[in-house]
């Protein structure tokens, strides 16, 4: 317990990914992960936190995102400039492979990072919106479990929506 207090005072946390890579993050970054903020507020935060659902590749991205947001928000710039900056950063940040995007969304859900969850959901929705059914299946690696007859019936009900 004493070592925990010591490290909390230093405001540094060690986050361990699913594949065993350890990331050192400052408290201002860590608290953006709601799961960790709750641990800190409940005084249950250990200096070493294992995140079982997130790979190192994704965790590195998540930390990059939280770092940028923490720095921008505390940087003393005016709110409008900070907003613009975050918007630009978010747009670039979302310019990733679709699989990565899905994993980021899943990680944001698991780690409870509201702004990243909102951002990834919004981006996924805009990617889905104009795709054909076959493209959506491919994008999410979804198996078509309708029979030929069933799929035909489902499509036929709103045939005009496919035009």
């Amino acid at each position: 317990m004493s070592s925990s207090t010591e490290l909390t005072e230093k405001k540094v946390f060690l986050l361990k990914s699913l594949d065993g890579v350890i990331f050192e993050v400052e408290e201002s970054v860590a608290v953006q992960l709601e799961v960790i903020r709750e641990l800190i507020e409940g005084d249950c935060a250990r200096p070493f936190i294992s995140l079982y659902n997130v790979t190192s590749e994704i965790l590195a991205l998540v930390i990059e995102y939280c770092k940028h947001h923490a720095e921008t928000c505390s940087g003393g710039t005016s709110a409008t400039i900070a907003d613009e900056d975050l918007k630009t950063f978010d747009n670039e940040f979302m310019n990733v492979d679709e699989n990565i995007l899905l994993e980021l969304c899943s990680a944001a859900d698991y780690l409870d990072i509201k702004s990243l969850f909102e951002l990834t959901c919004r981006t996924l929705a805009s990617l889905i919106k104009d795709r054909t059914i076959i493209e959506v299946r491919k994008m999410f690696n979804v198996e078509n479990d309708f029979s030929v007859v069933e799929e035909k019936a489902v499509r036929k009900e709103f045939a005009w929506a496919f035009k």
Partner: protein, 358 residues
């Protein structure tokens, strides 16, 4: 796929999609199909703050009966992107359907021989129509259970129970001016009405007021009009401005002018506020409705639809011309309600209230 995201995350993503995209991706897989068809998803999709509400204007064109066509036009804030909805129905009455109201993506239409349903009129029926998914449902004709009294229709949604059910409220203890418009605000339908004449109250004088019907608890209530309007019920229309109840007064007696009043705090009579006046510049005009930013749409004498910009005090021609008194406005939003209704896709034959195509 499900390895990646849990069901509630898919729901969150799907609530951001337009209805047309959702109708398509239902056929991706059974999992998507089940999520989108789920009534709780349909209601999340409606309440999602990302849904936009757009003014919808109805008008009639064509002089001869055979040429008559009802138009339903969406008017977004930038008037350049007006979009006409497919209207698959045909009124059996002498002109057009009466629009009872619009709520959660459904438009309630009633078909009757007269302009209004009253005793002696032959009512053909009531349709609930969802244009965004092209589905509809016909409702049974209203029952004439209250003897010699006529009746008015209202359309709204129970905010608390969130489900469809039977209402059996009985007769309103007030008179309701039949020609007047109704307004759905705060879970209740509102009409302009008048109190019964009794010697004890008002010395036998009838008083104009707002009659509301709360859809959740099925109770009629009265609400006072601002003092200035109390005697002018016959000159009033009701509308919804923002999410607030509004009363529009047409000063025919004095000068040609509209006054727009808003009830700032719902139910608080002292919160009625006169927002602005519209000078009709000596012309005949008829109130049609409010746009999202509080401007008003009026029908002018040449049967054109005109937008009055109340900030710049100028009139803008919308570019729509329709038959006299056929203009009506509701606020519309997309929704998936009535997903299992009847198909209302425009075909060569139009659909009537009785379901028969002709």
């Amino acid at each position: 796929m499900s390895d990646y995201l849990p069901e509630e995350v898919w729901i969150d993503i799907f609530t951001r999609l337009q209805v047309k995209s959702l109708l398509r991706i239902r056929s991706v897989c059974k999992f998507f199909h089940r999520i989108i068809n789920n009534p709780s998803f349909i209601s999340d999709h409606i309440t999602s703050t990302k849904r936009t509400r757009i003014p919808l204007v109805r008008y009639l064109t064509g002089r001869k009966r055979i040429e008559r066509k009802e138009h339903y036009l969406l008017l977004p804030d930038d008037m350049d992107n007006m979009q006409e909805l497919d209207f698959p129905f045909k009124s059996k009455s002498f002109k057009h359907f009466r629009i009872v109201g619009s709520c959660n993506g459904l438009i309630c239409l009633s078909d009757s021989k007269g302009s209004y349903l009253c005793k002696g009129d032959s009512a053909y029926g009531i349709i609930l129509w969802n244009p965004s998914i092209k589905k509809y449902l016909t409702l049974p004709k209203p029952l004439r259970s209250h003897g010699a009294y006529s009746f008015v229709l209202g359309f709204g949604f129970d905010l608390k129970s969130g489900s469809w059910r039977n209402c059996n409220a009985g007769a309103a203890p007030y008179g309701i001016w039949k020609w007047g418009s109704s307004a759905y605000v705060n879970g209740a339908v509102h009409w302009i009405g008048y109190s019964p004449r009794t010697e004890e109250v008002n010395h036998g004088q009838s008083r104009d007021l707002i009659v509301s019907f709360d859809i959740n608890n099925e109770v009629f209530k009265e609400m006072n009009l601002p003092d200035d309007l109390e005697k002018w019920g016959l000159e009033l229309s009701l509308g919804v401005l923002g999410n607030k109840l509004a009363a529009i007064q047409y000063h025919s007696w004095k000068q040609r002018m509209f006054s727009v009043w808003v009830m700032e705090e719902y139910g608080m009579v002292e919160s009625w506020r006169e927002m602005y006046d519209v000078d009709m510049m000596g012309k005949h005009m008829k109130f049609v409705g409010f746009t999202n930013n509080g401007d008003i749409l009026v029908e002018i004498a040449s049967h054109k639809l005109v937008l009055y910009d109340h900030n710049d005090l100028r009139y803008i021609n919308v570019g729509v011309r329709g038959a006299k008194d056929s203009f009506h406005m509701e606020t519309y939003m997309e929704s998936l309600v009535l997903l299992d209704g009847e198909s209302a896709v425009s075909q060569s034959k139009a659909i009537t209230c009785e379901g028969e195509a002709r």
